[in-house]
């Protein structure tokens, strides 16, 4: 029986040693795998937000220029909403996934954009969404 005990001890110790070595190697591998996988997902989500926000921003800037070139009294309300939208976008940290008000602010920006479109008599759907211009996620 003493022989059995020794056998078990030997196996336990061997196990710990090999487990530890395997663990260390695995940890290194896992660390780099995690970075790659995480980055791949992050890029997709970041690009989604960046694309949408950039679109609203480009749209707003362009329209601000267009309205400036032929401003009328009726356009003052449009300008007000335009400036509000531009301001909201400037403040929005579009590249920070840990921003705690991300979805809240994004929804507010979307709402303001829709308001702007209705003021301008523009259909918000055409070509604004990523899908419309050939982008699909």
């Amino acid at each position: 029986m003493a022989g059995d005990q020794d056998m078990f001890d030997a196996v336990v110790m061997a196990d710990e040693r090999f487990h530890g070595e395997g663990y260390r190697e695995g940890y290194e591998e896992g660390s780099s795998l995690g970075m790659i996988e995480g980055r791949r997902h992050g890029t997709l989500h970041g690009a989604k937000v960046g694309s949408e926000i950039g679109c609203y921003q480009g749209f707003a800037f362009a329209w601000r220029g267009l309205l400036h070139s032929c401003a009328t009294e009726r356009d003052s309300k449009k300008m007000k909403v335009l400036e509000a939208l531009i301001g909201m976008i400037q403040k929005f940290p579009y590249d920070d996934p840990t921003y705690d008000k991300l979805h809240e602010d994004l929804d507010r920006i979307r709402g303001k954009f829709k308001q702007l479109c209705s003021l301008l008599n523009v259909q918000p759907d055409f070509k604004i969404s990523a899908e419309g211009s050939g982008l699909s996620f």
Partner: protein, 251 residues
């Protein structure tokens, strides 16, 4: 391995009885501890010597399975640590790179809606639509390239390449410029332009008569630069000040 299944079936009843069995081997306790710790191990049921109670002995499955198990655990642990980190990095890079394309798309959409409202010239409308499709394809290509990159230096190169295309607001990328990577950056730039123009030429071949009608010839590597130039000429055609494109970059 049917005998392994048979072994685990027998396990239950045997455990209950053996704790109070005076004749039981001391080694059984050691074994039980061992079992709860090593559930994934190969177990071989052996008949004890002299017809005694059945003993489980762990066949020394050897370093192989210990290492594999440790390796698996290590991988999970390592991944858990860096997954979020990688996500945050990728998110920032993806957003910063794509936002410029988004701005271009938004600008073209604004021009399109302006056309619809004031001047329903169908030639210009279809031209803008084509440019929008081109931007979309560029965006898609860039995104695919970004996602397939596995090491950080390449992403930096891509950002450098994009910066070379006169995109504004890529301030963060400037800090990353590394002179040692210039050669690779040039290669990436050329490859990017080539691939992007390949995509664009597919778009161009389909009903862009209005474009061909213009004397303006497409440069060697159209890509984003070409789209921007086309947008500028479009603005002039609409009779609008070029200032409205100020936010995009240096045209």
């Amino acid at each position: 391995m049917s005998w392994v299944q048979a072994a685990s079936l027998v396990q239950g009843p045997e455990e209950e009885g053996d704790v109070f069995d005076e004749e039981a081997d001391e080694s059984l306790l050691v074994q039980r501890e061992w079992q709860s710790h090593m559930q994934r191990r190969v177990k071989v049921k052996l008949r004890g010597e002299g017809g005694g109670p059945l003993l489980y002995r762990v066949v020394s499955a050897g370093a192989g399975s210990c290492e594999k198990e440790g390796y698996r655990d290590g991988i999970d642990a390592g991944k858990a640590v860096t997954l979020q980190q990688g996500f945050n990095q990728g998110y920032k890079e993806g957003a910063e790179v794509i936002i410029n394309y988004g701005q271009l798309r938004g600008t073209l959409s604004a021009l399109l809606s302006w056309c619809h409202l004031h001047d329903d010239s169908s030639a210009l409308v279809s031209k803008i639509n084509n440019l929008l499709d081109a931007v979309g394809q560029c965006e898609e290509y860039v995104l695919r390239h970004l996602r397939s990159v596995t090491s950080q230096p390449h992403v930096v190169d891509l950002l450098d390449s994009l910066q070379d295309m006169d995109l504004s607001h890529v301030a963060p990328a400037e800090e990353k410029i590394d002179e040692a990577k210039d050669e690779r950056f040039c290669e990436n730039n050329a490859e990017f332009n080539k691939n992007c123009s390949k995509n664009l030429s597919q778009v161009d071949c389909s009903s862009l008569e209005c474009c061909r009608a213009q004397e303006h010839e497409r440069p060697e590597n159209p890509s984003l630069t070409w789209i921007l130039e086309q947008t500028a000429s479009l603005v002039k055609q609409l009779g609008v000040s070029i200032d409205i494109l100020q936010h995009l970059k240096q045209l």
